[in-house]
């Protein structure tokens, strides 16, 4: 599957920069692995190094504490420590909700998030991914606010070979969504992917707008929106958790897309989000090209983070 692509690209991007912390961890783990130390509890220094690695990846204090505790409880000496840490994080990432089953057509996919995280780009990539799977999606331009947002999306749609339903600037986003669903039904499309305007989760009015879009979709198609994907920038810090919580509550987010993983940030807050909110990461954005979106795999994510480095 596309898994290799993900792993390769992610690993490439992660090794591009010096993983100093991971290297330090590596050293500590190796020392722990010496025969004389086998069978002894993990020492403080190892746990500290692990803690630092997780904190520097934006996993956050609480989730990091839990992971370190779990490791401390399970690990005996260096042998297997690496695997225990990996297992722990993979476990968290895997213990999330599963994808809403395919049902009604067209499948309605809402793409939401704070400003500038990569929603519009991701909508283009997602449409391309669906096309590659032989599906026929439709794109809906529901960002009627930001300057040139629709023009930007239209270029992406063209690249993906997909039609766009658009409205005039300033139009009611929910009305555009209504039109797009109608068109999707009439033309028997497999999915309608909705690009929404970036909004901070603290803006009540703008969040309520998403609620309205949901209502419109639900009225038109049973179970819609089937997927509400929160686009999270991998550079985001602890605010990511607050974002996820708010968007989940108001917009019914049921999955995460982690973008810009081709940079040096690792998006570790997604681990905390998975832990606290059971929200799964569905896709990873690994570049600005149309093919730079890959289905997310927890095993490969953690492997790519740690493999060969420690």
């Amino acid at each position: 599957m596309t898994g290799m692509g993900f792993l390769g690209r992610l690993r490439e991007s992660l090794t591009r920069t010096k993983q100093q912390l991971v290297e330090r961890l590596d050293e500590v783990v190796r020392r722990n692995d010496e025969p004389a130390r086998r069978g002894r509890p993990v020492d403080i220094e190892t746990l500290d190094a692990l803690e630092e690695a997780l904190l520097s990846a934006d996993v956050g204090v609480a989730a990091t504490g839990q992971i370190v505790e779990a490791v401390k409880g399970r690990a005996r000496g260096g042998a297997g420590l690496r695997q225990i840490v990996k297992d722990e994080i993979q476990g968290i990432l895997a213990s999330t909700a599963s994808r809403a089953p395919d049902g009604q057509r067209p499948r309605i996919v809402l793409v939401v998030g704070v400003n500038g995280t990569g929603k519009t780009t991701t909508v283009g990539k997602l449409a391309k991914l669906m096309r590659d799977e032989g599906k026929r999606p439709l794109i809906c331009a529901a960002d009627t606010f930001r300057a040139a947002a629709v023009e930007q999306l239209e270029i992406w749609a063209k690249r993906a070979g997909v039609d766009v339903i658009r409205a005039a600037p300033g139009a009611d986003p929910a009305a555009v969504v209504f039109d797009a669903i109608a068109s999707g039904k009439a033309h028997n499309r497999d999915a309608v992917i909705v690009d929404t305007a970036g909004r901070l989760h603290t803006r009540v009015n703008l969040m309520n707008e998403l609620e309205k879009i949901r209502r419109v979709a639900a009225r038109e198609i049973e179970g819609a929106p089937h997927e509400v994907l929160l686009v999270l920038d991998a550079t985001v810090g602890q605010n990511g958790l607050t974002q996820a919580r708010q968007f989940m509550e108001v917009a019914g987010v049921n999955g995460i897309i982690l973008t810009k993983l081709d940079g040096t940030a690792k998006g570790g807050i997604a681990v905390a989000i998975a832990h606290d909110l059971k929200l799964p990461i569905r896709y990873a954005g690994v570049g600005e090209g149309i093919d730079d979106l890959v289905p997310f795999s927890p095993v490969e994510y953690v492997d790519a983070l740690f493999e060969e480095k420690w």
Partner: protein, 448 residues
């Protein structure tokens, strides 16, 4: 002060004092709390470490430990140390004799460069400067178009060489054109790029070489986490950064990354982006960001907004009235209007410590409600507004009809108004609260 952290520290010291162990150990426990608070605010963990060491040195001082308020003392040390990081930096732009003054905006993808270009032009226009904008982003779909639209909205001229798709030529052309046309500022927007993207960093260097900028503004997202110093550091090392624009501060991110960038990369913060609209750009004030990192909210911004909405004169008049127990429904309506002028309520609440996250509260004081209250007062006669006591049953019915509300709502409003008057009367002596100018000074001294 610093409610969240302060309360936590108070608990720490109280419990330890109870055990008669107010020693260095107490400091260690307190430092752990501070560490968590800073990490949760996205201060880089290396910075946190260095920071904690410095604070430890100062806090172990016996004077602090013996003081009656060790928690406050420690918080004060934290705050001083943080402010110390910023040194004497003031926000805004340093003076510059060059004309045209060229400003280059750079940074990661989606941080807010293009929006900031238009905001900056708007801000400069208020100082009587004439900016020419140019986009060098030939990569992102519709990026050039985005800047054109923003320029149009802002009433700013945008340099648009038809068909020119070379970023360096676009930038150079803009500077030449500014010279010919007499613009005194050129704002150069660039494509978002990763600091590890070799090819694009070389391109950025080439743009810089041709425009010879006076200002290199690194546009950073306030929500950024631990990676902030890596990216900012690399942009600074390769291209050079003269100031940071911290965007999206209108949310509830603590913005600890900013502190880290200043500490590690050593560049000052010039501006804060506080919204998507063109006027939402403000010169940076260190004390605000420090307060925010520590969880006490952006109180000063709030006071400043209030000052803009309520004139000094108005405040004084109001104070007078309150003192004489002469506060009428007219005054009440004026106050309401002033609050609404300060911007969306949710925006205002977001600046208050701890309020941003309180969804319930935000929902309760919703905008529509205020609108209805205003409508009710509007439906009263001037006489009724001056003497609320005359508003009897039949008048209430008429007012409800006129404002499209219900008698219950009218009743509720009157009840609240009477209560408010009582409260104001009780506060009579300290009516200075309504004089925002004084309030502001008081706030400042409280925070020092």
């Amino acid at each position: 002060m610093f409610e969240a952290l302060s309360a936590r520290l108070q608990d720490v010291f109280k419990s330890l004092r109870g055990q008669g162990r107010l020693t260095e150990e107490a400091v260690e426990v307190a430092l752990r709390e501070i560490r968590v608070a800073l990490l949760e605010a996205d201060v880089n963990f290396k910075v946190v470490k260095a920071f904690i060491d410095r604070i430890r040195d100062r806090a172990v001082d016996q004077a602090v430990l013996r003081s009656l308020t060790p928690a406050q003392q420690v918080v004060k040390i934290v705050r001083d140390e943080m402010l110390g990081l910023f040194g004497a930096t003031q926000g805004g732009l340093p003076p510059c004799a060059k004309s045209p003054r060229v400003m280059l905006l750079l940074g990661l993808q989606g941080s807010g460069k293009t929006t900031t270009a238009a905001k900056l032009g708007t801000w400069l226009a208020k100082q009587g400067r004439h900016s020419l904008l140019v986009s060098t982003d030939v990569r992102r779909p519709a990026a050039i178009h985005q800047l054109s639209v923003l320029g149009q909205q802002a009433g700013l001229r945008v340099h648009e060489p038809a068909g020119e798709l070379d970023p360096v030529a676009r930038a150079g052309g803009a500077v030449a054109s500014a010279r010919n046309l007499g613009f005194d500022v050129v704002i150069v927007d660039t494509a978002g790029r990763l600091h590890i993207d070799e090819e694009l960093m070389i391109e950025l260097q080439a743009i810089k070489d041709v425009v010879d900028p006076s200002d290199l503004l690194y546009v950073a997202d306030a929500m950024t986490g631990q990676d902030a110093i890596k990216s900012a550091g690399e942009f600074n090392r390769r291209i050079g950064v003269s100031g940071v624009v911290l965007t999206k501060m209108d949310g509830d991110a603590r913005g600890g990354a900013a502190l880290s960038v200043v500490a590690v990369v050593g560049v000052p913060i010039a501006f804060i982006g506080s919204g998507e609209r063109l006027p939402d750009l403000e010169p940076f004030h260190p004390d605000r960001v420090v307060s925010r990192v520590l969880g006490m909210g952006d109180v000063l911004s709030l006071v400043e907004k209030a000052e803009q909405a309520i004139t000094e004169e108005h405040a004084e008049r109001l104070e007078e009235k309150i003192l004489q127990n002469d506060f009428t429904l007219d005054d009440f309506r004026d106050q309401l209007r002033a609050i609404r002028k300060m911007g969306p309520l949710e925006h205002i609440l977001g600046m208050l410590p701890g309020m941003g996250g309180l969804k319930e509260l935000r929902d309760n004081v919703d905008e529509k409600q205020l609108g209805r209250v205003e409508a009710i007062i509007d439906s009263m006669t001037p006489k009724e507004r001056r003497r609320y006591q005359i508003i009897n049953g039949s008048r209430r019915k008429r007012i409800a009809r006129g404002s499209g509300t219900s008698v219950e709502e009218v009743n509720r409003l009157l009840r609240q108004f009477v209560q408010m008057r009582k409260m104001l009367k009780a506060m009579g002596g300290m009516a200075g609260l309504s004089g925002m100018g004084k309030g502001r000074k008081r706030l400042r001294s409280l925070m020092r």
